[in-house]
Structure formats: C-alpha cells, structure tokens
Amino acid sequence: MAQAQLPLDTPLSLPEHPKAWKWYDYFTFNVDHKVIGIQYLVTAFIFYLIGGLMAVAMRTELATANSDFIDPNLYNAFLTNHGTIMIFLWIVPAAIGGFGNYLVPLMVGARDMAFPRLNALAFWLNPPAGALLLASFLFGGAQAGWTSYPPLSTITATTAQSMWILAIVLVGTSSIMGSVNFIVTIWKMKVPSMRWDQLPLFCWATLATSLLALVSTPVLAAGLILLLFDINFGTSFFKPDAGGNVVIYQHLFWFYSHPAVYLMILPIFGIMSEVIPIHARKPIFGYWAIAYSSLAICCVGLFVWVHHMFTSGTPPWMRMFFTISTLIVAVPTGVKIFSWVATLWGGKIRLNSAMLFAIGLLSMFVLGGLSGVTLGTAPVDIHVHDTYYVVAHFHYVLFGGSVFGLYAGIYHWFPKMTGRLLNEPLGIAHFVLTLVGTNLTFLPMHELGLKGMPRRVAMYDPQFEPINVICTIGAFVLAFSVIPFLINVIWSWNKGKVAGDNPWGGLSLEWTTSSPPLIENWEVLPVVTKGPYDFGGIVHRPVMDEDDDEDE
C-alpha cells in the first residue's frame, strides 16, 4: 500500500532500509537477530570475566591448604556462582544465543528469526538473571554448589538460594523461547533453493541443541519450582523426615543438567564443522554422519543422566543401564572427532587463530572425552566421585571444548560481524597462553582426584599442596590470556584490517552478504547453487586477498 506513493522509477518495490545500526541500538529492545546475537555475545563475555574472577579468587585460596585468603562461606558462594555463571550466563547464551542468533538466519538465507520479538525478549531475560545472581551476594550468596542439592540448598542462605532459583528459571525460560525460535526457523525458513543436504552443519547442531533444550529445560524448571516451595512455603518434597525424597530432586536436576552439557558442546561442534573445512580448504568429511550424530547425541543424551548419581543409592540395574547408555554417547561424539580429523587430513591448512583454537579444541576435547568415558563407567565413578578428577574432566570438556570453540568462532566470524579482521599475532599469543594455561590448571587435577582430594572445599590435606600450586599458577596464566584477546577485539573493532565480504573464501550463505551484513541481511535473497562445503573441484574464487589460498 505504502509502495503506491513511491516514484515510478523506483527499481524495486522493496522498502528502503537503513544500512546499519548505531551503537546505541545495541542497548535497546532491538528485534534484529544480528543485534541480538552481538548483545548475547558481549553480555555473556562480561559474565565470563566475572565468573573467571571468581575462579581466580578460588584458586588463590586453594594455593595453600588452609583457609587464609577468603572466608569459607564466600568461597562456597564463589564456587556456586562460578559454575552457575559459566554455564547459564556464558557458554549457553554465547553459543546458542550469540552464535546461533547471529548465524542461523544468515546461514539459511532468512531475513530474521521466525519470531523476532520473542527473540529479543529471550535475550532481555538474561541481564536480570545475572543481576539476580550478583545481588544474591548481598544475602551471602547461594552456598550449595551449582547443583543445589537439597538438603544443603534448603538450609543454607535461603534468600540467596531463592534468588539463584529465580535466576535459573529466567535463563531457562529464555532458553526455551530461543529453542522454539531456532526449531521453527531452521525447519521452515531455509531459502527455497537450499536442500536439506546443503544446510550448514552449524544449523544441524543448533537444531539438535534446541530440541534438547526444549524437552529438558522444563523438567529442571519443575524441580526448581518444587525446591523453591520447599525453601519458602514449608512443603517437604525433598525433606525425607516428612515423606519427601532428595533423590527425586537429583533426577529432575540431572534430567536437564546432563543434557545441558550437550547444550554447551553441540553448538560448539557446529562451529567446528564450519571452521575446520573452511580453513583446511576441503569438503567436510562425512556430512550426514556429522549431521545425524548431532541428532543422535540429542536423543541418547536424554537417557544418560543417572551417571551423575551412581553414588546416590542407585540400584545396580540402573548403574548398568546408564553406564551402557553413557558409553554409547561416546560413539556419535567419536564420529564427529574422526570426521574432523579426516577433513584436516591432506587439507591445505591455514594455521590462523580460528584454526588454532579449533585444533586445540580437538586435542583438549579428546582428553576430556576420554576422562568422561572413564567417569561414565560406574566402578571408576564410584571411586573418584566428587573428587578433583571430576573437576578436571568437565573443565577439559567445557573449557578445552566449549570455550576454545567459542574463541574459534569469534576469530572466524568476527570479520563478518564487524567488517574487520582480528590481529593475528595477538590471536596466536592468546591461543598459546590459553592452551598452556588450560593444561597447567586442569591436567594436574586428574592426579589430585585420583589421589582423593575432594572437590568443592576451601581447605584440604596439606599433602596436595604442591600440585595445587601448579593449578593456581595455571589459573593465573588463563586469567592473563584474556588480556591480549580483549586488546585485540577492542582495537580491531575500530582499527583492524578491513575484511571484505568473504575473507576466508567461505561458501555458506553468510559470506554472500556484506560485512557487517545489512539490516534484513540481503538486498535480494541469495540463491543456493552449491553446498556449503564444496571446496575444491570446480575452482571457486571468492573476492579475497591474493596472497593467501589457492584452492586446489
């Protein structure tokens, strides 16, 4: 209707769009998926720094066997909130909210997500949740660890614990809204010219992640609501003296929180499947194997949760069942790892920061996966349960896996998001510091755990002190590793080398638009003529620097 007023010589009847957002648009209830993606990434990174400072405080405390740096109650609060923030406000929102929102519509050739306003709402639930967690320190901070098992959670720092529950319910709601959005967007909004086997693997991973979040998050919400009633309204769902049962909480909690591990790693696997072929200049090995293995992890991952509860009086048949199902998850995960290795094999590898982090992830995640397999078997798990072995394992998965992957993703798509390349020497320094720091911090923890040092405590047997000192030094290295990254991002965002539309010679649709992409992504929607990984064969020459990359 409005178009009727346009002058007759208007070439296309598409409405006029402003070309770019202003800086202040990023602080508003903006419905553009790209703005929301950046909002997620930046907010999540701020929480990463906060959670990281908590970790540094804890490691400083643990440098000596006695409690001499911070008060043990504060230690507990840091412990609880470090885990909570890193999971719920850094990795999940950065991976799914940040990269998912930014990339999925660009990759499938859509102008936005299916429900843009719902998307903005989902993001804006995150800052209040984080504020609630931080404000809970005024009431002593939740003390019961990120798992918040009753009875500990029902008797310690109850106000702070209630705030913790509300914060988790908020981010959970956000996560469900996001999942609905991703599922409908990927399912329905591909450009018509894109076949399912041309869907980038990051989208497959996001789809699997969203399905998993959709069915598991509400169960956690149910458990937390019951816990909230127990704390505040005098019910006794989890109080054994009045007919309740604590193990029920553990079931409800882990039914979400084990899949949460996959929520944190599946999108990262998606990032890997984009970064590795593009920088190895080779078609991905086993497209369908990788796509289906995401869905397989999503399905099997729903039936492994009891391996966190082998010491909760679990009957033997259950231990048997869940040991087997846990080991089965290693199969689709292994399929991915081998596919990436096979993609790298004989490729023309560019060892830039993104690729370094991706290869770093491969090696770190294999270590985390192997310790995961040992932990998944009931006999070993019962021996090392609640020791530093577990801490070592999940930090190899979540730091060596997820965080490395997030960094790889940032180095890879930063040029698309800002139009400028990140500085390579700084990126390599960042990578080296991170890799050294990770192994210095977490590798010795395996030994601590096997020797029996319990996790979650501020004081420990002095015989463990020397190894703990190594871990603490590693934690400081990790803390310092963020500095070159921050300098790099801030400097490059303003002054970095101009990237152009397609600096890496990518074939997926996000590289067909400008950097940063227009509002509404394209003037005219692109047409898919080849798959996202069809490197080689017919020589593809993207517009890019000549000094780099000849396709074979």
């Binding site: 469900i176 609905v180 409908v184 019951l226 309740g244 049962n245 029920i248």
Partner: protein, 201 residues
C-alpha cells in the same frame, strides 16, 4: 495472479510477506512440547513420591470428588464449546466466534471458582503433608495455566471488537487460544486421573 499494471508493486508486497512468514501456530505447538515436559516433571516427581510412601494419600487428606468431577465436566465441555468458535470464524462469523469464546471464558472462570471453593473446603492446606504438597502445587500450577488460557481468550475477544480484525482467512490468534485451551484441558485430564481417580479407587 494479479493484474499486470500493479503486478510489480503487489509482488513486492507479497514477496516481502513471503520473506517474513507467520509461523505462530507452529511456534505455539513447539512450545507446548516444552510445557508438557514441565508437567511431565511434576507428574514424575508425584509418582515417585507416591511409590516411596506407604500410605497414599495419608489419613485425613483424602480428596473430595463432587466439585472436581463437575469441574472436569465443565472443562472438557469447554473444549467443545471453544471448537464451535473456531468453526464459526472459519465461516467468517465473527459474532458467532465471540459468542462461543465468551461462553468458554465463563466456563474457565467457573472452573477456577470451583477450584478455589474446593481449596477452601478441603480441611487441609499446602503444608499438611507430602500428599497435600503435591496436590496444591500441581492443581495450583494447572489453575495458573487455566487463568492464562482465560486471559488469552479475553484477549481474542478484546481484539475481535474491531470489525475485520479476524476473518475466515486470518484468525491466528483465535486458533492459538483454542490450541492452548485444549492443551490445558488434556493436562487436567491427566491430573484428574492421577490426583483424584487413582487415589480414591
């Protein structure tokens, strides 16, 4: 499809619409999967607690059957009533839709009133014992969903005051309120079975 003179402009509008398609009904269905799992978690917790306790429900906290049975009949019938509203709007009969939706909203409110009446006359409260914990949290949580459903229906009624807001071809809001209402109804049937029928028989 369109006349040739205005074709370019019209196509622009259609293309634009095509690139921002409306998937709200699908989105709601996907969301309801999530909602069912939330109730699923509560049901699972309830069944486990039931299995772990010797006597269920404990002495003195038996449920009452008369009012809840009437309530159940009202809620199930309301699902048929709201469907008549859907049939009406598909025939472009906005007034008919409004009539059926008013009746549904009223039935929902009667259900909620019955629930409150039941709470007030039970003789035990939320904190009495583990069964009453479950009973009040689960029915209360469901009641909250009924309230949301009623609000959705009232929202549809509010919007439908404007002529032409809903028509035979454009009534996503009407359809969504109906789907949600059916969902609330199904959850109630499971709840009624678990909490009432299976504790009395």
């Amino acid at each position: 499809m369109q006349g040739t003179v205005e074709s370019q402009e019209t196509r622009g509008v259609i293309d634009h619409h095509h690139e921002h398609p409306d998937f709200r009904v699908l989105g709601l269905l996907v969301f309801l999967i999530s909602e069912s799992l939330m109730f699923g978690g509560l049901f699972a917790a309830y069944l486990l607690l039931r299995g772990l306790n010797e006597q269920w429900p404990p002495e003195g906290t038996e449920v009452e059957l008369l009012v809840p049975t009437i309530n159940t009949i009202i809620l199930i019938s309301s699902s048929f009533v709201i469907h008549y509203g859907d049939v009406a709007i598909k025939k472009d009969d906005v007034q008919g839709m409004r009539k059926w939706y008013w009746i549904t909203a009223a039935m929902g409110l009667v259900f909620l009133a019955g629930q409150v009446y039941e709470y007030l006359n039970l003789g035990y409260g939320l904190r009495t014992n583990i069964f009453s914990n479950c009973f009040y949290v689960m029915t209360g949580f469901h009641g909250l969903h009924v309230l949301i459903g009623v609000l959705l229906i009232l929202g549809v009624l509010w919007r439908s005051r404007r002529p032409g807001h809903y028509s035979a071809h454009q009534h996503t809001g009407v359809a969504m309120a109906e789907i949600y209402w059916h969902f609330v109804d199904v959850i109630w049937i499971i709840l009624f079975t678990l909490l009432y029928i299976l504790t009395r028989f």
